[in-house]
């Protein structure tokens, strides 16, 4: 099904995206609404990131894709780029055209 074109939802990721934060984040985002459009997650403020945080982003992306929406990471952050590259998920989470880096836009 072709996704509807709507305004992207810009979301600012917190400073910590770790096992200690993901349960609260999951509660905060609530149910995903296709009408809310694609997600642009700004990771520029992230200072702590672990495997659970990256998994949460992957899961968010998978659920958005299941409703015809996309997730894009924005806000260049070397820490996030290094973690994504190390786990081998850069190409999945990065912005289109920038397979190995988090977009700077």
């Amino acid at each position: 099904m072709e996704a509807q074109t709507t305004t992207p939802r810009d979301w600012q990721a917190p400073a910590a995206l770790t096992i200690y934060d993901v349960a609260a984040l999951e509660r905060d985002i609530g149910s995903l609404d296709p009408a809310a459009g694609d997600w642009r997650v700004d990771v520029s403020a992230v200072r702590e990131l672990d495997g659970a945080g990256i998994q949460w982003l992957l899961a968010l992306q998978a659920r958005l894709e299941s409703i015809g929406r996309r997730l894009t990471l924005t806000g260049g952050n070397p820490l996030v780029s290094e973690c994504l590259a190390c786990l081998g998920v850069s190409h999945r989470l990065a912005a289109p055209g920038e397979p190995c880096e988090v977009s700077d836009d």
């Binding site: 984040l25 990256i54 190390c86």
Partner: protein
């Protein structure tokens, strides 16, 4: 709740023991790859675990040791005697750092001093890299590995994260990973605190295969990990997958294939559980056989185990009471129930006691270090050979056996084995040998400690014993009996007091320690050839095979291991010595202790009494009782605080009728009959 720091300390002590044993082996066989890997892993594990439980300084300090062993493992550094001494010193320092996560100033200074010596050692090695590099060239050709990593669902909750694991893998070489949500991921039932990730990794590295296993050292039991060395076709398939997943560019793929296009990519050994190569008919030549699959083990605090054993003991007693009740009531159904329960409790008891059995070899490592350090201190060259390390003994006994064995080893090193010069002059090899062996014989554990030293000087021992009033000069004693005199209290022939032995703690302490374990100790020696101490012990202290005897209504248990025979005696004594009754036994006079008098049991003794003849060392003692009831196997219960000091009693047991029987300490009873210690 279990304190993680306490668990860490326990495990760290075990790893330090592994390290020490590996180092001592490396001293004997420099370059032994297996020992190098063991030492590296021990350091790697302590470092990682220390960091997790807040022992940050210890983690940083151990990092230097780990680096050193990594250099050794990669043949960039060889461990000479000085390096081994330095690592042993560091091992001891780590032991002190285990006490408190925050080290004091003195500990920090020691850490700094040792670290400086490590760096100097590694610097020297790097200054002469030619030989080391040649070794790397031989074995350091890059190998491509495919890894599949499936963390456990509880990985995050357990404090383990695939991210640092992959980061560590990246440190080993060129690493390309793809991580995805697992097939089981359900978008509608997503629990963000459980791990749903699966990683596939291509690693190209010249590091030895063990380095890959080391990365997973903390998670190997809980995660599903397969490691497969890739040959041409499998490598192509893997790189294609990575290109398709976007984790590898086509150009990078070509570069990789070029780098690996060396004749016949070396085949690694799959990890246990790794899939076999397609079409493989058998293991590659030179491949190690996979490690035998071992049952998972569970670590249990000693207190819980003791509590289990206590309850099993109660159950055994309860079963005996049930059996007694069945007999008294002549109730067939009750008898059957008691019999069935008896079968189950016996099985449970045997299993529970078996859990507490440990191989005696777990203490051997400690002795190796002792022999190494003491022989250096004494200017002697001594090697410790061990045999029967897997002989099992009750942990309780093993703990209490350590000190007597250390004392015997010290004695052998100090007084038994001669200086290298004296040995050469006597036509012996300069290096002395200590042999520590253990084995089972007729349901008992036999431990022998032998040296090839000068042997005991019988004439000197006898002269000293006479001088100290331990024996009369005219006592007819053969050579063997003379040698046993060194176990007498206060006996010492050492002309000097050294730091090693001769501190006033004599062999009598060794003897009483062994006897308190229901064991016996003897010594044999040949002049010029050496001395052997033999220790005989029951396998456990928890159950006793005893002979039950009666005095009036009271019951006592004599440990069967010391019982020689039972004889009938009358009230008349053949003589008295120092207030102790003597009876005639096999042509000589034997001290006899009437339990009725000793334990102040009221009432008259029967006209004909029974005397149980027990052996204490080489001597005999009669224990006079009203009647001998028979063989009795039972669980030993400790005496309460009130009765703990009761002379001649080592414990108690509860009988089937609920009554209590005292278990006799024969050695203590015997000591009471020898107030003047004369012979």
């Amino acid at each position: 709740m279990i304190d993680p720091a306490a668990v860490f300390r326990d495990e760290a002590h075990e790893h330090l023991q592994v390290l020490e044993t590996a180092l001592l082996e490396l001293e004997r066989r420099p370059g032994d790859a297996k020992q190098i890997v063991l030492a590296f892993r021990a350091m790697h594990t302590i470092k990682g675990a220390a960091g997790m439980v807040g022992f940050d300084h210890l983690s940083a300090f151990t990092h230097h040791l780990e680096t050193l062993f990594d250099e050794v493992r990669n043949a960039r550094l060889s461990l000479g005697p000085e390096a081994i001494s330095l690592v042993l010193e560091s091992r001891d320092h780590i032991e002190t750092l285990l006490v408190d996560p925050e080290p004091d100033a003195g500990q920090l200074a020691t850490s700094a001093r040792l670290q400086a010596r490590f760096l100097a050692l590694m610097g020297e090695a790097r200054a002469q890299p030619a030989a080391a590099e040649a070794a790397v060239d031989d074995e350091g050709r890059p190998t491509a590995y495919a890894l599949r990593i499936v963390p456990s669902a509880e990985a995050f909750a357990d404090g383990f994260d695939p991210l640092p694991v992959l980061r560590e893998l990246s440190g080993l070489g060129e690493c390309h990973a793809v991580t995805t949500l697992s097939d089981a991921f359900d978008p509608d039932a997503f629990d963000p605190e459980r791990c749903h990730l699966t990683s596939r990794v291509l690693l190209v590295t010249a590091a030895p295969r063990e380095s890959l296993d080391d990365v997973f050292i903390f998670v190997a039991d809980d995660w599903r990990i397969t490691i497969e060395a890739l040959d041409g076709e499998a490598l192509d398939a893997m790189t294609e997958l990575l290109v398709a997943e976007g984790a590898l560019s086509a150009a990078a793929r070509e570069a990789l294939r070029g780098a690996l296009a060396v004749p016949a990519v070396e085949s690694g050994v799959p990890a246990a559980g790794a899939p076999a190569h397609a079409g493989e008919g058998g293991p590659a030549p030179g491949a190690k056989s996979p490690a035998p699959s071992s049952e998972p083990t569970v670590k249990v605090p000693q207190g819980k185990l003791d509590s289990l054993l206590d309850q099993v003991a109660e159950l055994v007693i309860l079963q005996a009471r049930l059996e007694q009740l069945g007999l008294e009531r002549e109730d067939e159904a009750l008898d059957e129930l008691a019999e069935e329960m008896g079968r189950l409790t016996t099985g449970l008891r045997d299993t529970a006691f078996d859990i507490r059995m440990l191989p005696i070899g777990s203490t051997f490592g400690r002795f190796r270090r002792l022999v190494r350090d003491l022989s250096r201190e004494l200017g002697k060259d001594v090697v410790l050979e061990t045999d029967g390390a897997d002989t099992e003994l009750d942990k309780l006994m093993l703990d209490r056996l350590g000190d007597p064995l250390v004392h015997l080893l010290r004695n052998s090193l100090d007084h038994g084995i001669e200086s290298p010069e004296a040995r050469v002059a006597a036509g012996k090899p300069a290096r002395g040998t200590l042999r520590l062996a253990a084995g089972h014989q007729q349901g008992r554990v036999i431990i022998t400690l032998g040296d090839d030293g000068a042997g005991l000087d019988g004439a000197r021992i006898l002269a000293k014993a006479v001088e100290q009033g331990l024996v009369r000069a005219d006592t007819p004693l053969d050579e063997h009996e003379i040698h046993q005199l060194i176990f007498e209290p206060g006996f010492s022939t050492a002309a000097r007091v050294s730091d090693v032995s001769g501190r006033g703690v004599g062999m009598d302490v060794v003897k009483s320690s062994i006897e308190s374990l229901q064991g016996r100790v003897t010594i044999d020696s040949r002049p010029g050839e050496g001395t052997t101490v033999r220790i005989e012990l029951p396998m456990t202290l928890a159950i006793i095979d005893g002979l039950m005897v009666a005095v009036d209504e009271r019951r006592y248990v004599v440990p069967l291991s010391v019982v020689e025979e039972c004889i009938e005696t009358t009230g008349e004594a053949a003589g008295q010595r120092g207030g102790v009754r003597l009876v005639e036994h096999r042509g000589s006079l034997m001290p006899c202790l009437r339990l009725r008098e000793h334990f102040a049991v009221a009432g008259p003794a029967p006209a004909i009494e029974q005397s149980v003849v027990v052996r204490v060392g080489e001597a005999f003692l009669g224990l006079t009782v009203d009647a001998v009831i028979g063989h009795f196997q039972t669980v030993i219960k400790g005496l309460g605080r009130l009765y703990q000091g009761t002379p001649g009693v080592m414990g108690a047991t509860i009988m089937g009728n609920g009554e209590i029987a005292m278990i006799l300490d024969v050695a203590e009873l015997f000591a009471e009959t020898r107030p003047d210690r004369g012979r």
